[in-house]
Amino acid sequence: MSSTPPAYSLLAGNQGTYSLVLSGDWVQGQRNPNFAELTNSLDTTELTALAVDGSALGDWDSQLMAFLLRCHDYCLARDITFNSRNLPEGTDKLLAVATAVKPYHAPDKKRRAWLGNLNPTQLLSGISQEIRLSLGFIGDLTIAMAKLITGRSNTRLTDFRNFCYQAGPNAFGIISLTSILVGMILAYLGAVQLQQFGAEIYVANLVVIGMLREMGVLMTAVVMAGRTGAAYAAQLGTMQTNEEIDAIRTMGISPMEFLVVPRMLALIVIMPLLTIYADLLGIIGGGIVAAGMGIAPSQYMIQGETTLTITHVSVGLTKALVFAVLIAMAGCRAGMNSGRSSAAVGQAATNAVVTSIVYLIVADASINILFQQLNI
């Protein structure tokens, strides 16, 4: 069954009436005649009425309908009478359905220019919006926390326990791996340098101070930002999409108390614990490298103990608390402000991770400067 290519011929009638005789098979696999050519030739005529004649038409499918619709819209836009003759059964009906509703003229959407994100005014307004959202969120959160303290909160203990479990024990594997490796990296880096002075033994000091004050807590926080912060954003974003947050609001429950507070408290409780765990494993990791370089484990431990003070531990734990709040805030804020589509939920998760890592680095630097000034 070979098909003949679709074609048309334009026949002039009297008083500006033209008939458009269609022939051939207007089906998928055939190339439609060029519509622009047809309009070019129509534009040169004093067209008042166009009749489409389908008497010579072969097979047809949506391809014909798409062509007919364009003819119809062309006539509609120019006040030309459009009618049809001998079109196959069905096409008339379909055309009637397709033209029953007038085309909607969508207002031009603002198209974002390429690199438009780098436009300074846009950048500034984006930042100010970000700050406003964050401040609003912090305000709501403070109220919710105050209610929790006064015992009038809708926060549920079961939620808190669940989140603790998700953030804590479930994260042991990845935290163990990263902190042992970071301890090893620290020790290796330090040992290579210290060897030049014959002071390899101080590797222990380096690892202990490095892990306790800086790397243990920072690596834990980065892992938690990627793992837990993103999960919070995705959970809350999906709840936004499913109208769960609307349901919570209309029940008279504050989503802050019900959703955000238990998540944040869980992180506040779990982060310091994970940090201690990470510190411990990091120091063990450093010991492994030190042992490889000829420092006996007992030597490493005794040397390490000389620098192990409560100050270093508490510096790490203070950071852990601050980071926990920041990660939970970035994650929950992204989720609560998420749009209502799957794409928006993905964006919220990305946003949560990016902002929490930025927060972490900035906060870490600020805390370090502060502590240095305070001689802690």
Binding site: K93, A98, V101
Partner: protein
């Protein structure tokens, strides 16, 4: 071969049992959908209507039995044959199933790009036509999240008919629509079905839709966990000897005594 196939039903569900593990949802389903039918799968909430549709679409394999398209088993077929079958289907899901990261035009364009050789400008024309058919002309650049629920249903229909399918599957097409939009959607389904010569399989419990457009149906029962009626819904309403089916189709609650006798 083709002569033989002419009198084979377009879709045949043979001895299908659907179960999640040990939890049987429906057992021993046997029915056929003929070419040109508007076939309705009905039954109370939770009886497995949508699950049956998912089985027919090859999304979940039946625990027992098989489903045949024009006499060819779907579940015995090779992946290539299944793809050929799938290309002849158009499906709208309960919540639309539109890709939220794509505009309406891109949603309709995707199947065209995958399965046809149209040039870009021709595709634009076809997309404009399909959207116009469902009353969404001019909404090409909108994202699903920017339009209303009823419009989303229609946009999903536009995507489903992108390839001029042989069989159209609908999962609760008019759920959540007002009566006017719902009857317009019914009209649209009938128009599209008649002018394209498609067969329609739909899951619904909207009685007006069932009586105004369906010509064949199957009733899945919640309690006995199998189909208890099969036939034209208007006939079933008048003459079914199953009280529960008459009750369902007349929307009455007065027959409870009879149901208990069943």
């Amino acid at each position: 071969m083709s002569a033989l196939k002419a009198d084979v039903a377009l879709i045949e569900v043979r001895a299908v049992t659907m179960a999640y593990g040990a939890n049987v949802i429906q057992r021993n389903l046997n029915f056929a959908v003929n070419r040109g039918d508007i076939f309705v799968i009905m039954g109370g909430s939770g009886c497995g209507k949508s699950t049956l549709l998912k089985h027919m679409l090859g999304l979940i394999a039946p625990s027992e039995g098989d489903i045949f398209y024009s006499g060819t088993s779907f579940y015995q077929a090779s992946e290539k044959e299944r793809d050929d079958m799938r290309q002849r289907w158009g499906i709208t899901y309960q919540s639309g199933g539109l890709f939220s990261a794509m505009t309406l035009a891109q949603n309709v364009r995707l199947p065209l790009e995958l399965y046809t050789g149209y040039a870009a400008s021709e595709m634009d024309d076809i997309i404009a036509y399909k959207l116009a058919l469902v009353g969404l002309a001019g909404y090409q650049s909108y994202y699903p999240s920017e339009i209303s629920g009823g419009m989303r249903k229609r946009a999903a229909l536009a995507r489903a008919i992108a390839l001029d399918p042989e069989i159209l599957f609908f999962d609760e097409p008019s759920a959540g629509l007002d009566p006017i939009s719902s009857s317009l959607l019914d009209d649209l389904i009938v128009q599209i079905k008649e002018s394209m010569g498609a067969t329609v399989v739909m899951v619904t419990h909207e009685l007006p839709s069932i009586f105004s457009i369906a010509n064949n149906s199957v009733y899945l029962d919640n309690i006995s966990k199998t189909m208890i009626e099969y036939g034209n819904p208007v006939d079933l309403r008048e003459h079914s000897d199953k009280a529960v089916v008459r009750q369902f189709l007349t929307r009455s609650t007065a027959l409870e005594g009879e149901i208990n006798e069943r």
